[in-house]
């Protein structure tokens, strides 16, 4: 029984290994890329929009609404990053229902890479909105004694992001694999349905936590100028 998709190696050339994690990540990326390319190829703003454009528009607007409610800021800045994270994780978790598909999020390498993206994105968004000095000053608030705790908190929450997603998805597939050998008829189906629910909630939680971390790094900027709120209002009217 193999529960780590890193160890399923399809092709090896020197030290370059093509394992199942890579292959299934590429499959998810290709599905997302090709489907959005096919849909947005003939996108119109008229009355007669196609079914697929309708689907894509509602997905984007739901993500926008969630970002706006959770961060209380203009969602347009965060939509590409948070939306990509959410869609990638959701697709790789949902596609485990297909037999033979190994979720790339069931490997610690994928989740660590996603968490590293968040770890890099937090200072990038923070510096863009506050400037380098303003961002670094956040580490010594409220007192300089909090500096080590702030740094430890930054590292440990990145670790928690990676381990949380990995543990949930990997335990889901592991439980199904164990149940297949104990009670192969009915119970694996129930656990797989539970796994779909957990996969969706974990993708949501990952995206929302990434958004909360980024929004907390840009918070001071938001309190200084209240123009963002007007922008949000204009956006929602459009």
């Amino acid at each position: 029984m193999e529960f780590n998709p890193d160890n399923i190696i399809y092709f090896q050339w020197g030290f370059v290994k093509i394992n199942a994690t890579l292959v299934f990540s590429w499959i998810v990326i290709l599905i997302l890329w090709i489907s959005s390319w096919l849909i947005t190829r003939k996108v119109t703003s008229g009355a007669g929009i196609s079914r697929w454009q309708n689907l894509l528009e509602s997905v984007v607007s739901i993500i926008q609404d969630q970002i706006r409610e959770a961060s209380q800021q203009n969602p347009q800045r965060y939509l590409p990053f948070i939306g990509t994270l959410f869609l990638f994780i959701v697709f790789s978790n949902m596609l485990t229902i297909i037999p033979g598909f190994n979720a790339p999020t069931a490997s610690l390498s994928t989740t660590a890479a996603l968490a590293a993206c968040v770890f890099v994105a937090v200072p990038v968004f923070g510096i863009v909105s506050l400037g380098i000095k303003g961002y670094l000053l956040q580490y010594v608030r409220p007192t300089p004694f909090m500096l080590p705790f702030n740094i430890i908190g930054e590292l440990s929450r990145t670790l928690a992001l990676a381990i949380r997603l990995f543990g949930n998805i990997m335990s889901g597939s592991l439980v199904v694999a164990i149940l297949l050998s104990l009670a192969p008829l009915f119970f694996p189906v129930i656990m797989q349905i539970l796994g779909l629910l957990v996969g969706f909630i974990q993708a949501y939680v990952f995206a929302i936590l990434a958004l909360v971390y980024i929004a907390s790094a840009t918070r001071a900027h938001h309190e200084k100028n209240d123009n963002d709120k007007d922008e949000v209002l204009n956006q929602s009217q459009m």
């Binding site: 409610e69 381990i163 543990g167 335990s171 909630i201 929302i208």
Partner: protein
């Protein structure tokens, strides 16, 4: 008993203890949070969206302690470093 069977026995017992003790605390915490959120939704049904989102995020953060315990239990069972060390010493 030789050291391999001692390590195997201790690993299995400790893995069971890890997952059982480590899931008690998060279970109580999540139950309290869920009960509070339910009563809050019952009092203010209009705010159920915000409450549910905050509840999910909070539950995920509480649950991460249980998942740490789960990962430690898996490491003890499937990728035990001491086991590998002893096997290597005996084999080599």
């Amino acid at each position: 008993m030789d050291s391999i069977s001692i390590i195997g026995m201790v690993s299995i017992i400790v893995a069971g203890l890890t997952i059982s003790i480590g899931s008690i605390g998060p279970a109580f915490g999540e139950a309290r949070a869920l009960a509070q959120a339910l009563s809050a939704i019952a009092q203010q049904p209009d705010e159920s969206g915000t409450l549910t989102r905050t509840l999910f995020v909070g539950l995920a953060m509480v649950e991460s302690t249980a998942i740490y315990c789960f990962v430690i239990a898996l490491i003890i069972i499937f990728a035990n470093p001491f086991w590998d060390f002893v096997i290597k010493r005996v084999g080599g």
